[in-house]
Symmetry: D2
Amino acid sequence: MPVSEIVEIEGHIIDSLILAKVMDIILAAGADYRILEVEIGKTNADPSHCRLEVIGDDPDVVATVLDELQLQGANRIHTTDAELVSADRDGVLPAGFYSTTNLPTSVRIDGRWVQVEIPEMDCGLVYREDRRLRAVPMHRVKAGDLVVVGTEGVRVAAPERPRGHTPFEFMISDVSSEKPKDLLVREVAERIRRTKDGGYKVLAVCGPAVIHTGAGPAVATLVREGWIDLLFAGNGFAAHDLESNVMGTSLGVPVRGGTPAEGGHSNHVRVINEIRRYGGVAAAVDKGYIDGGVMYECVKRGVPFVLGGSVRDDGPLPDVYANVIEAADAMRYVLPGTGVALMLASTLHAIATGNLLPAWVETYCIDINPAVVTKLTDRGSHQALGIVTDVGLFASGLVEQLVRT
Amino acid sequence: MPVSEIVEIEGHIIDSLILAKVMDIILAAGADYRILEVEIGKTNADPSHCRLEVIGDDPDVVATVLDELQLQGANRIHTTDAELVSADRDGVLPAGFYSTTNLPTSVRIDGRWVQVEIPEMDCGLVYREDRRLRAVPMHRVKAGDLVVVGTEGVRVAAPERPRGHTPFEFMISDVSSEKPKDLLVREVAERIRRTKDGGYKVLAVCGPAVIHTGAGPAVATLVREGWIDLLFAGNGFAAHDLESNVMGTSLGVPVRGGTPAEGGHSNHVRVINEIRRYGGVAAAVDKGYIDGGVMYECVKRGVPFVLGGSVRDDGPLPDVYANVIEAADAMRYVLPGTGVALMLASTLHAIATGNLLPAWVETYCIDINPAVVTKLTDRGSHQALGIVTDVGLFASGLVEQLVRT
Amino acid sequence: MPVSEIVEIEGHIIDSLILAKVMDIILAAGADYRILEVEIGKTNADPSHCRLEVIGDDPDVVATVLDELQLQGANRIHTTDAELVSADRDGVLPAGFYSTTNLPTSVRIDGRWVQVEIPEMDCGLVYREDRRLRAVPMHRVKAGDLVVVGTEGVRVAAPERPRGHTPFEFMISDVSSEKPKDLLVREVAERIRRTKDGGYKVLAVCGPAVIHTGAGPAVATLVREGWIDLLFAGNGFAAHDLESNVMGTSLGVPVRGGTPAEGGHSNHVRVINEIRRYGGVAAAVDKGYIDGGVMYECVKRGVPFVLGGSVRDDGPLPDVYANVIEAADAMRYVLPGTGVALMLASTLHAIATGNLLPAWVETYCIDINPAVVTKLTDRGSHQALGIVTDVGLFASGLVEQLVRT
Amino acid sequence: MPVSEIVEIEGHIIDSLILAKVMDIILAAGADYRILEVEIGKTNADPSHCRLEVIGDDPDVVATVLDELQLQGANRIHTTDAELVSADRDGVLPAGFYSTTNLPTSVRIDGRWVQVEIPEMDCGLVYREDRRLRAVPMHRVKAGDLVVVGTEGVRVAAPERPRGHTPFEFMISDVSSEKPKDLLVREVAERIRRTKDGGYKVLAVCGPAVIHTGAGPAVATLVREGWIDLLFAGNGFAAHDLESNVMGTSLGVPVRGGTPAEGGHSNHVRVINEIRRYGGVAAAVDKGYIDGGVMYECVKRGVPFVLGGSVRDDGPLPDVYANVIEAADAMRYVLPGTGVALMLASTLHAIATGNLLPAWVETYCIDINPAVVTKLTDRGSHQALGIVTDVGLFASGLVEQLVRT
């Protein structure tokens, strides 16, 4: 049986992003909401006000959500006093104690609202005989102190962002760096599956680090098994993929341990030279010079690829568009119908692709460097989600989710 | 004479943060708004709708604002057709062309709304004889093409963030990395001035890199001239500040060029040892062993400082609280009345301080490492603004703004 | 049958680190060397000179090593001319072409040494009728051009680092960011195995991100299976480990997917409060409040742990040394006999530990942030090797190597 | 009168980079050395041995150098016992105490060498009645303890790097992140001055962040005053430079405060469109459309510039080489005679340029992101020095050094 609770928020809840955060918290927990009443301040000076109902199937989930909402200043409508419980020993709060935020807070005691003197995070609230209410860190609680328990009768003011004419700007990024990565891999795999089911295409944009970090075989598997329909990259990615197939190295470094058979630092230049002799990647595949890897699978399966040139290219491979305007036009030509874009350890080509994508394409940026991820998710690509992790791990995770199951 | 324009937005404008962004854009440009009508979707599925008036003194500013708003899907109410102008040469758009977003876009032509086929950023809109409307990159425009000019008669759909039950979480950070830094310095100086005028205190939290990067003299000047009322730091900051005064080095590296007089790598350990002999920083100042630097100015001016201990401390200085619970309590004791907190190249002590501050204290985090800045601004410290820059530059900038003028 | 080749280097080969690099290249490839003759410049102005023999079992490996050595200016002793092969088509170099460095290079042609005019990396060397030798990028080679093939008769000057009185300083770090991570995991597992076999202890230093990123169960397994003998951490790591056991969350975020049973943001504060009620982690394990996780395994297996306090601690747990001097002394007390130290996503405690370790302890720093890894490997801890990766991946990799096999 | 001292080192001093570090330390302090005797181990197993004389004018400098050398295991030749001084109070070491490293250490007492039991950094050495020698942290010293003072009679073993067949690789980078930046600016200015005096050219490679961070006017001044002879960049840098001249913004953000006159987000696209109408930058300068900025000064002063295209370009400007092979060839054409290259907040074009430069060109990479700096200085560009700082600050610093003095 669904349970529901009503909460209220007041303040600059739109421009301080509080109402958005409130909705996010509710939905992220698997609960739902219904707006009961909302009044938006007419001008920048006027506060707004909202009353909404939180609805969920699991009372525990709803309780958790209410706790989280209070951190945003969304309070239940209180008609009763807060519960006060006496601490039974020094340095320990009573079970179920109200855990504070650093926002202005007041508590209903004996029918009146008492303000917390100096708010501080992660403390208990202690009410002493002087009728003052203090945020007290756990270690300073004394046996016998009256401590607020539960969230009943506690009201928190909504936090405010600095607003107005300022050189600071707010950046919103959906970036996850300290999250368990397998959760995210599963989510992305699920979205890819749904996209393919809907008849849309999956695009992979790959940087050279895909090969350096040993993710090549996983990406090749995804192509072979039909999970990637389109590949954008540069000369470096393709050259190192081919180098790893021919020489077992990437930029001269063995990608699977062992000792490189020959060459070293100039391996990729030698492989590029040979591919130039064959006239292109497809010809080299046909003649058996290339017999595995990402480019090989693209050729074998007929997955279109666009290799855009850049001023730092060695060679380049004959398949590379030396003219960058033509490269972008070729990308434009194959893009329609794309539903998901995976940016794998790529900066230049990922930004170039982001510039071409309609906002409705779901975009995931995977890189070990958070600066790159933030850059990509910020560039007006509203739909981009960033994942800070080792691209090698991420790609094998996708294979496990999409191919091995 | 003030000018005003009315715009409309529709969609998930609360939880996709669009309405907040719209307000931000208007205020950041120095204009103002008035909400005329707002209807918030009752449930997660229902779209919201808002009509607001943009008001400004300068018509150019209002025009700019309207352009920026359209990137967010906030459109003027159109009653007339879009203007179509013929391109006069290949590869060049007509002046005043409508520059596209990657959002779903439609244009009023001959009284009906024509949809752009595949939206793409930074293109022109070309209407051809087949009555289709395409986003065309500049280089592919042909002489004679009919191009949409101006924003009249152009409507853009509001962008949507992925919502619902997802492991991704949105992060909002007010971090500025590629902004001209002197603008930001001026803004922070202004806020400090205002805080002091209001009778509130300014707190500086300093990491050792303040001294390594040569910012010590600037911070010392700020203390001496009365702009800093409270200092939190660790053993490292204080030790290197004292080392730079006694030895001219920080961790053995000369801070002002030239050759260190004696010592080197162990300089800070020697100075700590001497201060231990004196019994503390104040005693060493009194006896003339220390005659300059940040700690010196604090002692001379009676600015309270709290040095919190950490497991990695050498020595430590006698002034350091070896008991970290007592350190935090000491910080709590002096904090009330603080209006601005400057976190200067500090991680541990900045987070510790952030945990203790009420949400109403304006907090600025300055560090050259964006990861640190993001970490600090994310920790539930709603009020924190991050500035990615060299702390040496920032501190001398503050001196220039606050002391030299 | 072992093969050997003699190479020569000349220049500032000590202070430009060339001789060290040469030795490193030889050994890293699994080959060996014997110094035949060495003359070190008496003063900073004098060049040095070295002749050494490269010895290996596999002629291919020796050939590869010679190529790599030439990038450092270590040349074979040439008594014959270079081989010149005519290019058979435009834009393609002959197979086996000599691939250039950007160092001053000369080639023996008709018995005399001809200098390359302007060295450039990754080019071919073309000798034209004007008797001039040019570095030519692949795409500019013409059919009929005479191209240097092989390394016979090619001499490269040793690179020089800027030396002398300069504010620049050279940093040497053993950090691997773009390497395939499973290679490194296997290597570290091997070193741990060898250390344990030698009767030495393995120390793990853990930061809270170990738990946030879902690496907790893997580290717990390593403790249970006897691979970790000593644990250093702070209040945060222990609190989140316990929180994940009791609540299934880390800082309120579910660590294994699903929905948190109760609580949320304040979960860790509640768990700390309960442990304080029990009087400590061991008591809470005994009473069954804690029944899994890293701290649980430490208690069960009698693995000593030291939890050092810091000013940012909530609570803290009763097991935490609030006095940081005592914390460091406790760490000193248990350290003797340690052979390997693993720093897992920890900064503060890792630096503290690094300060206490004798130089002979092998130290591996694992973090997703290269800045942290570099910082740790730079702090005079000569023995520290850095691995930039997701700590969750690394820990499960270790389990796979050490436990599952 | 010059003073000199003789030191000895033993161990794997070449491949553990110790001898190089020793030379670096001596020269960096402004002192000099003379090698007296050197014996390099024939094989990887054999230790090496070196005896050298440190020579300097200032006895204090030589003393400092000797202290620093001992951290590397370079010891004076000791014929006398170490001095032992009794501590006069608890927790304080005697003045001039020997400050420890974490390397194996022994001390000559009563004519025999006593080993320190467990080495630890930054401690004192205490000799107790049990005739054992311990590294004791300052706070644990007791009054009456006999403490080693000075470096006479103290011998330290040279540190060793892990060597042999390992997947770890050593990276050497000359990167300075926590150094006072004005020292480095002065040094670079000095090198530029020397290069110009020698008749060589100075090349600047610029990324768009040069304009975003407000460094445009400083770079323009350097061009105007004849300090920059060659400019490489991409479409983005040039477009934002021109945008800032025409519109006062960079990517729509005002670069000097105030309110943008018109436009906003699409400003750069509009400016590119106009330049396309003029037919190029030079024509737009001639016609007066552009009247300041970096590109303007290049045109006015006849400084050659190469703008290389990339797949992410908007427009592009007519001056951009859309064909990247031609772009690289154009760069090759103008490069000869270059003595110094400044890479200013550029990744793509900096790497491209690094690929083309002979090793003898002094290269300075300036970026706020240490990952970019490390990447650039690592790419086999032996001569590259990295400076982690705000490029805005760096450029105005150069102007102050080169133009205003």
